[in-house]
Structure formats: structure tokens, C-alpha cells
Symmetry: C2
Subunit: 697 residues, 2 copies
């Protein structure tokens, strides 16, 4: 049987990330059949053909017995069964095919000589194929049949990419990966192979939606919705073969900016008509368009407040325009006063999203999703889970993560975020008896009628390694995998990624390579936390670009991000009893847990409480000694990771090794800067000497 | 007699600054004769004609008795006498004409019915004319004959203007006056009338030299020296009629960048030949070209260090190229390590210029001028006088001031700098018996064979008010006047400027206007100092743009600008005994005076010493109470100035009043921010309460 192999579409100098050809060996050395029609089935067939071409297998037709059969069984889409799935445990029940359009069932029991992935819809074929790729040889060993389907939908990447280079924020806002994959200097980047290869990587880890432009919608970007819609359609054409729907960030002021309307009032009939007609035109051009992403009344973006309307009014306006076409609006809950007076200790930015949105629960349309940052502030290294997530049972909630490392080392530092994300997704806002964050995003409980899925701000760009730091590829991969299966073990995902990306078995010392990578990546978040802002207090970064330390950098700013350190103590009192009352925004038991320093977890102590430097932590250390110790430890760990990486030189490709080595030099330099600035700052302020007498400047 | 009047060349929306037509009334209502030939005499004649056309006077010929005679008596240039002059007191000796080519003698004694200004050279005619304008009616009242000549030459403005818009620094580095008068978006601005009007303003206050581009010479700007020389010549043609010579900032790397040389080594014969040929070409195009300005081995600019050569080698290279044409090089002494480690308390940026340059005394060519910033750091609100100025008796020294208010409110705050500059110019580096700073710049004492003059970084730009803040015009005016007469009383200069600019006698209440302006401008430097960094410690500004407070903004930076505040005290120990040794760079008595807190002037205490918050100042207040008190006072004074300005609305032109009113709103807002951040910072750190119980956040 003759099939055109998929060309991965990469120039030789572009890193293959977790899809090097070597990762296709198990599939590619076998006889593969793909039963099904349509574009996605064609994609799978071409992928398999490419693998087989590389490793001696072949695509077989109906007459031959395949080793691997990927089959579309669309008659079973309406059937019963299929309650397994990884979101709720990975046990299967043997049915041939799941109901979820992206799901599939994998049969590899002893009594079958053909491993079979059955899907009810073409997207399930695609995810089934990449599941087999991830399993590698293990896919062809006996195991109970298992049905897999995504726990969360959509699994979406937001690209904060600008079309025009922004005078302050550049081509990609908070981008640390060498420019945009989609745009350059005001025009499409015009590298379709690169976008296609990106779509392939995303699909292979489970991502199925992508917003192509920054949530801060500037003048040029606003026009993507109308006269530059062709630019969006061109991207959608490249993402579609990998099952990824295209979304667009839009401006609430679009009716005025683009439509010549006198107002953008969500309740104005002309405005409503304009949005409906505009959405109609979008769908006429991009029939599978995903929907809109909106940042409104936030950090200078326009929104419904200008017209005395609520955020529900604003979101519903767009939801109604999208509804006839099956589109959704992701309406961001990141609304706060960014011109706060630092002198006013009663205003608390952490409270803002809950204050604004919780009262609106139940007012949003079924296709309006409230997109909530995982923490109440802004993607800090350590934050509590946003109380909004547990407070709106009648609203579809999407949880927003940040893969781009704005506050976590900007892809110069290794900081694997899967452990943090896993903690967030497992957090149970109402205690052990209620749904977890992942459950909320899945639509469990309450009357919300569906989940909002998981979203991450992408960390990928035109950099040859996609993410600047090659080890930051794991953050992109882990996001997709956790969105599919939120209860996945981060350590297992790391192993999975290591096997795919570094194919240790093809090296001289697989165990040393695996152990080394587990070490340098696995604990990197804790290491990063140690040498940066202590005990959940956050920020302490340099203003504007947010890289490197500045303990007081935001202390007297209008941004609402303070630590209130004085000569006696440090931290923000967010208790109900004596503070801002933020702790009371949580349901039980968390409102009680966070209320007092006695019960508040140490790692969040300074987020919730202002304590004396002599306050004793559960570790038995004082806060000030904890600050000193963790900052010395963090640098030691970063130095050790650098040395360990150096020792892997014989096992890693030269280009990748060199890039990571370069980044470690900067990480260690910057970690020392963090250590010394934070320690000096607190020694100068507290006057308490380090009990170990180490040098503090 | 028919003469073409000078057109001031201003569009109606451009502020006339200190040369409104009204300021010409005294001259313009009289009969005026100008005896002399050549372009400068023609300028004077045209100026007088313009004044007469406005106010009913007339230009008369040799047959008529004039009320004012401006005469060129070139036969007396070689004569004796003329030892008076304002630099050494304003008494005259009755001789007809001074020897200095810019000097003049004014006769307005009772026995002469014609007031006569006699000059030895055309430039003296020009300065004599504007002297009469400044005097107004007083010029026509009896007074002893007096000879006037500039104490300092050149009296130069450095424009930190970029040709291309710099991605960080913009069109004008540290410019707060609406773009460049000379350049726009990579090309000449092409507003010759504006440049001509600017030249007229400068000449009228005594300025005679101007550098047309930034001392940080970027790629495009470097080419002004060679293939874009025509752009410079066009400016020179506009400045020349007002007696102003044009200078150019050049890059030490020019032989490589522009000349295709393999090296820029100052001792390389090809490099020397290239500079000579390049200078020849410049003078062929601009015969009265002034010379070069150079920032070398400083903040990233190239310089002789790259070749193991000294700054004398670098300066002499250019001096030799210019010498055949009478040109001079201004070589800046602003050389320091801007990548310093903040942990290293032994390195002291304040020491750098002296460490680098004092050993080179005597090694510079006669036409090489060392241009020294007035303080050792960088134009702070309060600094000691640079020890370099008193340390190089065999070197021509120019003192560099900063009219553009980089650290003094960026022309949003009123901050009249004449009192500060006057203090600097009167400072005597070797005590009462040695020359003052002005004397050094004039060439007094030592074997330097000439002075280097006075330089200011210009605060003027394309703004309709020239300087952004209309009251900042006084800084430009006062610079020119102090350069001519360094011992002028700043208060008298302010009165002079008020009379010219606001012509109080033409208003309904001259005395109220004068008193109001004296108040809001006169004490503004002290007010600004009160609410910003205390007791000479400097900085505490926001990094990068330098506007507004950030107490720790530069504390952990590589820029060498620290205050070392901890819970016990604040300040930099620069003593010889226990500190960086900077105090020992001064001659006696200052090295002793600055050495101990007991003798160090309070206003410089924290520049020289780290003292406890409880240290008692001469005022009887502790340092911490002084910080609180001055910050409360500074804001109160700013608020009072704002109110006083508001009360002058009926006496000031609407446009000017509105602009200043707008600026006062921002000044008061920013002053409160300074007060609150500084006070909060030190309360949090010291724990010492305000003894008056005022609110500190």
C-alpha cells in the first residue's frame, strides 16, 4: 500500500524536541494499518508512513495482518460504555471504542496479535497514534485493554504574540524563545513548515486549541478579526491537520475601533449585531474556528466597565455571537486595579478576581468560559490556588497556567513547572469531599454544564530549540499531558519526556542519562523557589521585565504586589481577623487553614501573614534563618545541577548540550545575585546574623 | 539708512523665552548706529533694525547722532588696558575697547549723550548689543564706563541629540523638551528658522559654542564626521551669524567604523593620518569648526584602553588633527566601571575620574581640554565638587554642568540650578588662597596655558517652550550668563531673566509678579533637594529613566551608586581612615574637612560618611528626623509654590501659565511620592518614629 509519508517539516537546525525520528522506532519498525477516512486519518496515515520509511516497517492494506491497527469505528460513537479513561483512573473495560470524540481504546492483550487503537472519531485516531508513539516498545507488550480520553477540553495554548513589534513588549509579550512562530514585524512569519511541525508536537502531547495572538490586543492585532482574517485562516489551515482549533484574542473595543460604531456597549443592539456579523464572517472563512479570548478591563484593555456593564454582559455578548457556530469565548478573570496606591493597605490585589467575578456566578452563557489564573496574583513561583476556582459552581471555569517562564527564570533557568501544576490541579477548594481544581475545569459538580478546560501561555517561539532553554520543552510537553490527564504523576511525565526526547537507550549509558536528567529537571522548581522570593511572598523581581532580583522593586509601586518588610518582620496579612480578608474568600477548610500562622502551610506563610523574623517554622527554623538557608541551598543546588549537566556531555547532542550549558552559566550567576541581594536585604533590615556565619554582603 | 530687520524666525506658537519683542523696547525706541562690517556686524544691525521697527526708533547713519552707538574699533584689539571685566569685578577703567575678541566697553557716562559700546572684534559687538538689551532702560542712564569680557571660553552647550531615534534613549538622550531641534528620525529636522532663533537666544545670554550630537555616538551619528558632514555644515551656517561655533561628538572607533582602518590605536601612524585627513576635510567644509567632543572608554563607548593607550594618547591624537585649524578637543573625564559588583565596598565610582586622569596631568596637548563633570558621580542634586578639577594644574579643564534635568525633575519639576552652579564655580579646591573652580576653567594658576571653559548639557529641544517646563528656560539662560561671569549673583540673574521674559512693567502688578517668580523659581533647588535623596547621598531614583523615587533602585546594581542603608544607619564611608579613601583625593583643607562627620558639611554628610540614624546634625536634629522633616517640608513648599503660581494667572500669558500649572500638578504628585517612599523606607528600616507624629505609611 502506498502512502505519502508526513514530512516533519523541520530544517536540520531545528530541534526535534520530543519527536526525534528515534522516538518513532517502535511504530516505524512494524506493519501498520490505518482504517478511516478524512483529513485527520490522512495525517495519521502519513505519520505512520514516515515512521515506517525511517525504520523499515510498512503501511499495510486490508489484506495484511498489521502489528498496529488504528481504526475509526464511528458506529460506536453513540454506544455505551467507555467510563474508564485516565482522568478517573486508567483501567479499561474492554469495550471497543470510547464515546469521546478525542478518545480511543487500546487493545494489546495477549490473545490478540495485533495492537489495536479504536477511536470513535478521527481526532481519537490521532491521539491514539501518538499514545502508541509515547509508549514505544511497551505498546507492543501485553496489557489490559484501556480506554483513554481527555479529562479536560479544550487543552489550549495562548500565544501572547504580537503582530507588530510592540515598543516595550516586543514581538512576543513575555516571550523568551526568539520571536513568534506566527508573526514577524507586522506580517505573517511565512514559515508554514515550522507551524506545521509545531502543531505536530502539540498534538502529540494532547493539545487541541491555540490562540494566535496576545490577550493585550493592540491596533494591528485587533484587525486580525476583520480585514486581516486571512492571516488567521492561513494559520488555522496549518493547525487543522493536527486536530488543533484556532482561537483569536479580540478587543472589546472592536466595534468602535474596527466597526465604526459609536459605542462598544455590550447591551447596545448595534454592537450585538456587529459582533454577530463579524463572527459569521469569521466562521465563513474558518468553519472550525474555536472562539475568542478576551482580556477586558484589565491593565488598560477596554471592557464593559466603561458602559456600566458587568463582565457577564461583556462575555455573553461575544458568547451569543459565537453560539450559532459552536464557538466559545474565554473571558479572563485577571481583573484588578493596576494603579493601586501602595500606601493603602486595605486594598488587596489578591482579592480582586473573586470580588469581581464570584457575584456573577450563574450569569454566564453556556459557551462563555471564565479563564482564571491558577493563583490570585500572577504566576508567581508559589501562590495559593485562586479562590475563584472554587467559588463559581454555576460557571464554566478554565484554569490558566503560564508555561512561558515570566517569573520563573525566563527560560534561562531550569524550572520544571509540572510539579507546581500538578499541585494546583489536585487542590480541592472545598476539602476532600469536593471536586479538585481539575474536576472544576472538567465541569464536575455544580450546575455549570461543562468544564472550561486548561489553558497555558505558550513558552514556544521561533528559537531553534522552540523554547529557548531546551529543558523548558518539558514544560510545554507536561502541560499538554496534564491537560489530558490531570492526575498524571509529574515524575512519570518527566520520564516519558526523557525517553522521547533523549532516547536514552540509544546512548552509551542510558541509566546515567536518565538519572542525570531526572535530577536536573525534576527538582528544579524547588531549587528556583529556594533562591528567589521566600515563603510565598512573591515578586521581588526587577520591575518591567521581571527577570532577576529587586527586593523592593515593586514595594512602592502601583501594582499591588508588596511584601511589607520592615526591621521587625515581613509578609502580607491577608487574614480575616486582622488583614485584608482575602483568606475568607476560600471555602472551608481553607479559609480556616490560611487564617492563622499556626495552620497556614509554611510555603505560603508570607503570602497570608506578616510575621516577625523570629517566627519559628515547622522546620524549627526561624523565618530569617530559613531565608538565609534556602538562599544558600538554592545556589548550591543550581551549581550542582550545572555540574551534573556538564557530566552528561557524552550522552547529549552537542548543540543541545552547548545551549543548556550556556543557560546554566547564566542561571548560576543570576541565582547568586538572588541569594546575595535577598540575604543582604534581610540582614540589613533585620540585623539578625546568619547562625552559620556565612558571608552576607 | 535702510537696513533689513532680523526676523526672529519664530512661528506664533513658539515661546519667545527671554527675547520677547517687549524686551527690545528700550533699544527699539531709540536711534541706533552700528559701525562695523562683516557678518556679525550685519547681524547686530539687523537685530537693531528689527527692534526699531517694532518700537519706533530707527537706524541712523554717520551723519546723525545716535542714542546708541555700537562700534567696531578693531585698531584697539592689540592695545593695552582692559583689565576690568566682570570675571574680576565689574569696574571699568575707561579705555575705549577691550582686547578680548568677545569683549566690549560700555560708555554711558553723564558727559556723553550717546551710549557707546565699543568692541575690538565683531563678536564683541554682538555681545555688547545683547548686553544693552538686557539692561533695557538702565542702559541709557548714567553709569561708570565698564569693560565686559567673558571670564570663560568656550561657553558651550552639548546636545545629547541622536540623529536616529535610539531604541532606548530616543531622539534626545536625557531630553525632556520634545525632540531635537536638529534631528528627526534619522534626518535633519529641517526647521532652519527654529535653529536660527535658538542661536539668537543662546548668543543673547553669552553662549558661543555648541556640539550638535550626543556624546554616545551611535552608528548613524558617527557618520556626521564624514559622509554626513553636510548636515553639520548646514547647522553651522545657521549658528554662525550669532557667533556660535559648531562642535561634533565623535567616536574613537571612527577610523575602523568609517575609515576602513584595521585599528583605532591612537599611536598608529595610519590612524593619525586618517584623523588628520578627516579633520582637514571637516575644516574645508566648515572653516570655523570648533572641534570634537569625546566620551571614551565610558559606559560602552570605545576608547584608547582597547589598545593599551592612555586617555592622553587618545585626546592628543585628536588634538593634533585639529591643531592646524585652531580646533580643540573636549575629552570627557567621565570614565568609571559601570559594571561594578555592588558587593565590593572597596570600589568607589566617585574615585574613578581622579584615579584615571590625575596621573596624566601635563600630558595633554594645549588644544586638548579635559571636560570634567562638576561632581564625582553624575549630576546629582547635591554632590561635592569633583576633586579632578583641583588636581591637574597643567591641564586645561572644562567644567561640565547639566542643564537638562536628568536627576532634578526632568523639567516637570521647577529646579533652578543657578544657585548650585554658582556654589560649584565659587568652590576653591585648594582653600581660600587658590583659584576657584571658575578660575581653573578660566586657566588661572598652574601651567595649563589656558582654560577649558564651561559646558552644559542642553535642556532645549523642539518643544514650543524650548525646555518643556517654561521656568526651565532660566537654567539655559543662567548657564550662559554664569559662563560669561561666574561670580554673578544667581538672584540677580533671576531678576534679569524675569525682567526679560515676563516684562513685569507691562503688567498690571509688576511687584507681585516679580515677587511671585522670585519665590517659585528662586528656592526651587532647595525644595527639590528636600523631598528627594537626603544629605548628599544621591540617586534613590527609578532605574533607567531616573525619574521619581526608588530608594533601593540602584542599591544592588552594577552602577556604583549606593547608599548602604541598614537598620542602624545610612551613607557611604568615603573617608581615608575607614572608607574608600575618596576624601583624600582632595587637597587641603577639603581632604581634612570631608574626612570626619564632625567637620563634613551636613548637606554632604551621607556622601562622605555612614552614620547612625541618631547622628546629630548641626541643626540639632538627628539624621532620621532630618529626613522626615525635610521630606514633609519639601512637599509643603512645592504645594505652596503651586498655589503661588496659580495666583499669578492674571499676570502671565495664558499658554505659559497653563503649561506651568500642568507641570506643577505632576511635581506635587511626584514630590508626595518621594516624601512617602523615602519616609516609609526609613521608618521601616530604622523603626524610629517621627517625633511630630505625622503619618508615615
Amino acid at each position: 500500500m502506498s502512502v505519502t509519508p508526513a514530512d516533519p517539516g523541520l530544517a536540520p537546525d531545528i530541534d526535534p524536541a520530543w519527536l526525534p525520528d528515534e522516538a518513532l522506532r517502535a511504530v516505524g519498525s512494524r506493519r501498520v494499518r490505518v482504517d478511516g477516512e478524512g483529513p485527520l486519518a490522512d495525517t495519521v496515515r502519513a505519520e505512520a508512513a514516515y515512521a515506517c520509511e525511517r525504520f523499515g516497517g510498512r503501511i499495510v492494506g486490508p489484506g495484511d495482518r498489521p502489528d498496529l491497527l488504528l481504526r475509526l469505528a464511528d458506529d460506536s460513537l453513540g454506544g455505551e460504555g467507555g467510563e474508564g479513561g485516565e482522568g478517573g483512573g486508567s483501567g479499561g473495560n474492554g469495550e471497543d471504542c470510547p464515546r469521546h470524540p478525542e478518545g480511543f481504546t487500546l487493545h494489546r492483550t495477549l490473545d490478540r496479535t495485533t495492537v489495536t487503537a479504536s477511536a470513535a472519531a478521527p481526532a481519537g485516531l490521532l491521539h491514539g497514534y501518538f499514545h502508541v508513539v509515547r509508549l514505544g516498545e511497551a505498546a507492543f507488550t501485553p496489557a489490559p485493554a484501556a480506554t483513554h480520553r481527555p479529562a479536560l477540553t479544550p487543552r489550549m495554548l495562548d500565544h501572547w504574540d504580537n503582530v507588530d513589534v510592540h515598543p516595550v513588549m516586543g514581538q512576543v509579550e513575555r516571550g523568551y524563545a526568539g520571536g513568534s512562530l506566527f508573526w514577524r514585524d507586522g506580517r505573517p512569519r511565512d514559515e508554514p513548515h515550522r507551524i506545521r511541525a509545531y502543531a505536530r508536537l502539540l498534538a502529540s502531547c494532547g493539545i487541541d486549541a491555540l490562540a494566535v495572538n496576545n490577550v493585550n490586543v493592540h491596533a494591528t492585532e485587533a484587525r486580525l478579526l476583520t480585514d486581516r482574517l486571512d492571516d488567521v485562516a492561513a494559520i488555522a489551515d496549518l493547525l487543522r491537520p493536527y486536530g488543533i482549533r484556532t482561537h483569536l484574542s479580540v478587543s472589546c473595543a472592536a466595534p468602535v475601533l474596527l466597526g465604526g460604531q459609536a459605542t462598544a456597549d455590550p447591551l447596545d443592539p448595534h454592537v450585538r449585531a456587529w459582533w454577530r456579523e463579524t463572527a459569521d464572517r469569521v466562521y465563513a472563512r474558518i468553519p472550525d474556528f474555536g472562539g475568542f479570548v478576551v482580556k477586558a478591563d484589565s491593565e488598560g484593555q477596554p471592557g464593559p466597565f466603561a458602559y456600566g456593564r458587568s463582565h457577564a454582559d461583556g462575555a455573553n455578548l461575544l458568547a451569543d455571537a459565537l453560539a450559532p457556530h459552536g464557538g466559545i469565548v474565554h473571558w479572563r478573570a485577571f481583573v484588578y486595579d493596576h494603579r493601586q496606591d501602595w500606601r493603602d493597605r486595605t486594598t488587596d490585589r489578591a482579592r480582586a478576581a473573586h470580588d469581581h467575578f464570584a457575584p456573577l456566578d450563574g450569569e454566564f452563557r453556556p459557551n462563555a468560559i471564565l479563564q482564571v489564573k491558577h493563583g490570585p496574583i500572577d504566576f508567581q513561583t508559589r501562590e495559593p490556588v485562586s479562590p475563584v476556582i472554587g467559588a463559581m459552581p454555576r460557571t464554566r471555569i478554565a484554569v490558566e497556567l503560564q508555561a512561558t517562564q515570566e517569573y520563573t527564570g525566563q527560560q534561562w533557568h531550569v524550572c520544571a513547572l509540572a510539579p507546581m501544576w500538578s499541585q494546583v490541579l489536585r487542590f480541592r477548594p472545598h476539602g476532600e469531599d469536593g471536586p479538585g481544581v481539575a474536576g472544576v475545569a472538567a465541569g464536575d459538580g455544580g450546575g455549570r454544564g461543562g468544564g472550561g478546560g486548561l489553558v497555558a501561555v505558550s513558552n514556544a517561539g521561533a528559537d531553534p530549540f522552540w523554547t529557548g532553554h531546551p529543558l523548558a520543552q518539558f514544560n510545554l510537553y507536561a502541560f499538554g499531558r496534564l491537560a489530558w490527564q490531570p492526575d498524571a504523576d509529574p515524575a512519570s511525565l518527566l520520564d516519558e519526556w526523557i525517553e522521547l526526547t533523549f532516547t536514552p537507550n540509544r546512548t552509551a549509558d542510558p541509566d546515567r542519562l536518565r538519572a542525570g536528567l531526572r535530577h536536573v529537571v525534576g527538582g528544579s522548581w524547588e531549587t528556583y523557589e529556594k533562591y528567589t522570593a521566600p515563603l510565598g511572598v512573591g515578586f521581588m523581581v526587577q520591575p518591567g521585565h521581571h527577570y532577576g532580583p529587586s527586593v523592593d522593586g515593586y514595594e512602592y509601586s502601583p501594582w499591588g504586589t508588596y511584601h511589607f518588610a520592615d526591621r521587625d518582620g515581613v509578609g502580607v496579612d491577608r487574614s480575616r481577623a486582622t488583614g485584608t480578608g482575602y483568606a475568607a474568600q476560600y471555602g472551608k477548610p481553607w479559609s480556616d487553614t490560611y487564617e492563622t500562622p499556626d495552620t497556614c502551610p509554611d510555603e505560603l506563610l508570607l503570602f497570608f501573614h506578616h510575621v516577625p523574623y523570629g517566627h519559628v517554622l515547622r522546620s524549627g527554623k526561624t523565618v530569617i534563618q530559613h531565608i538565609y538557608d534556602t538562599h544558600f541551598e538554592g545556589v548550591t543546588e543550581a551549581e550542582a545541577a550545572r555540574a551534573l549537566w556538564a557530566s552528561l556531555k557524552d550522552l547529549v547532542s552537542p548543540a543541545r548540550h552547548a545551549r543548556v550549558t550556556e543557560r546554566y552559566e547564566e542561571q548560576v550567576r543570576c541565582a547568586r545575585e538572588w541569594r546575595d541581594q535577598v540575604n543582604s536585604y534581610f540582614l540589613r533590615k533585620s540585623g539578625v546574623p546568619d547562625r552559620h556565619g556565612r558571608r552576607i554582603h
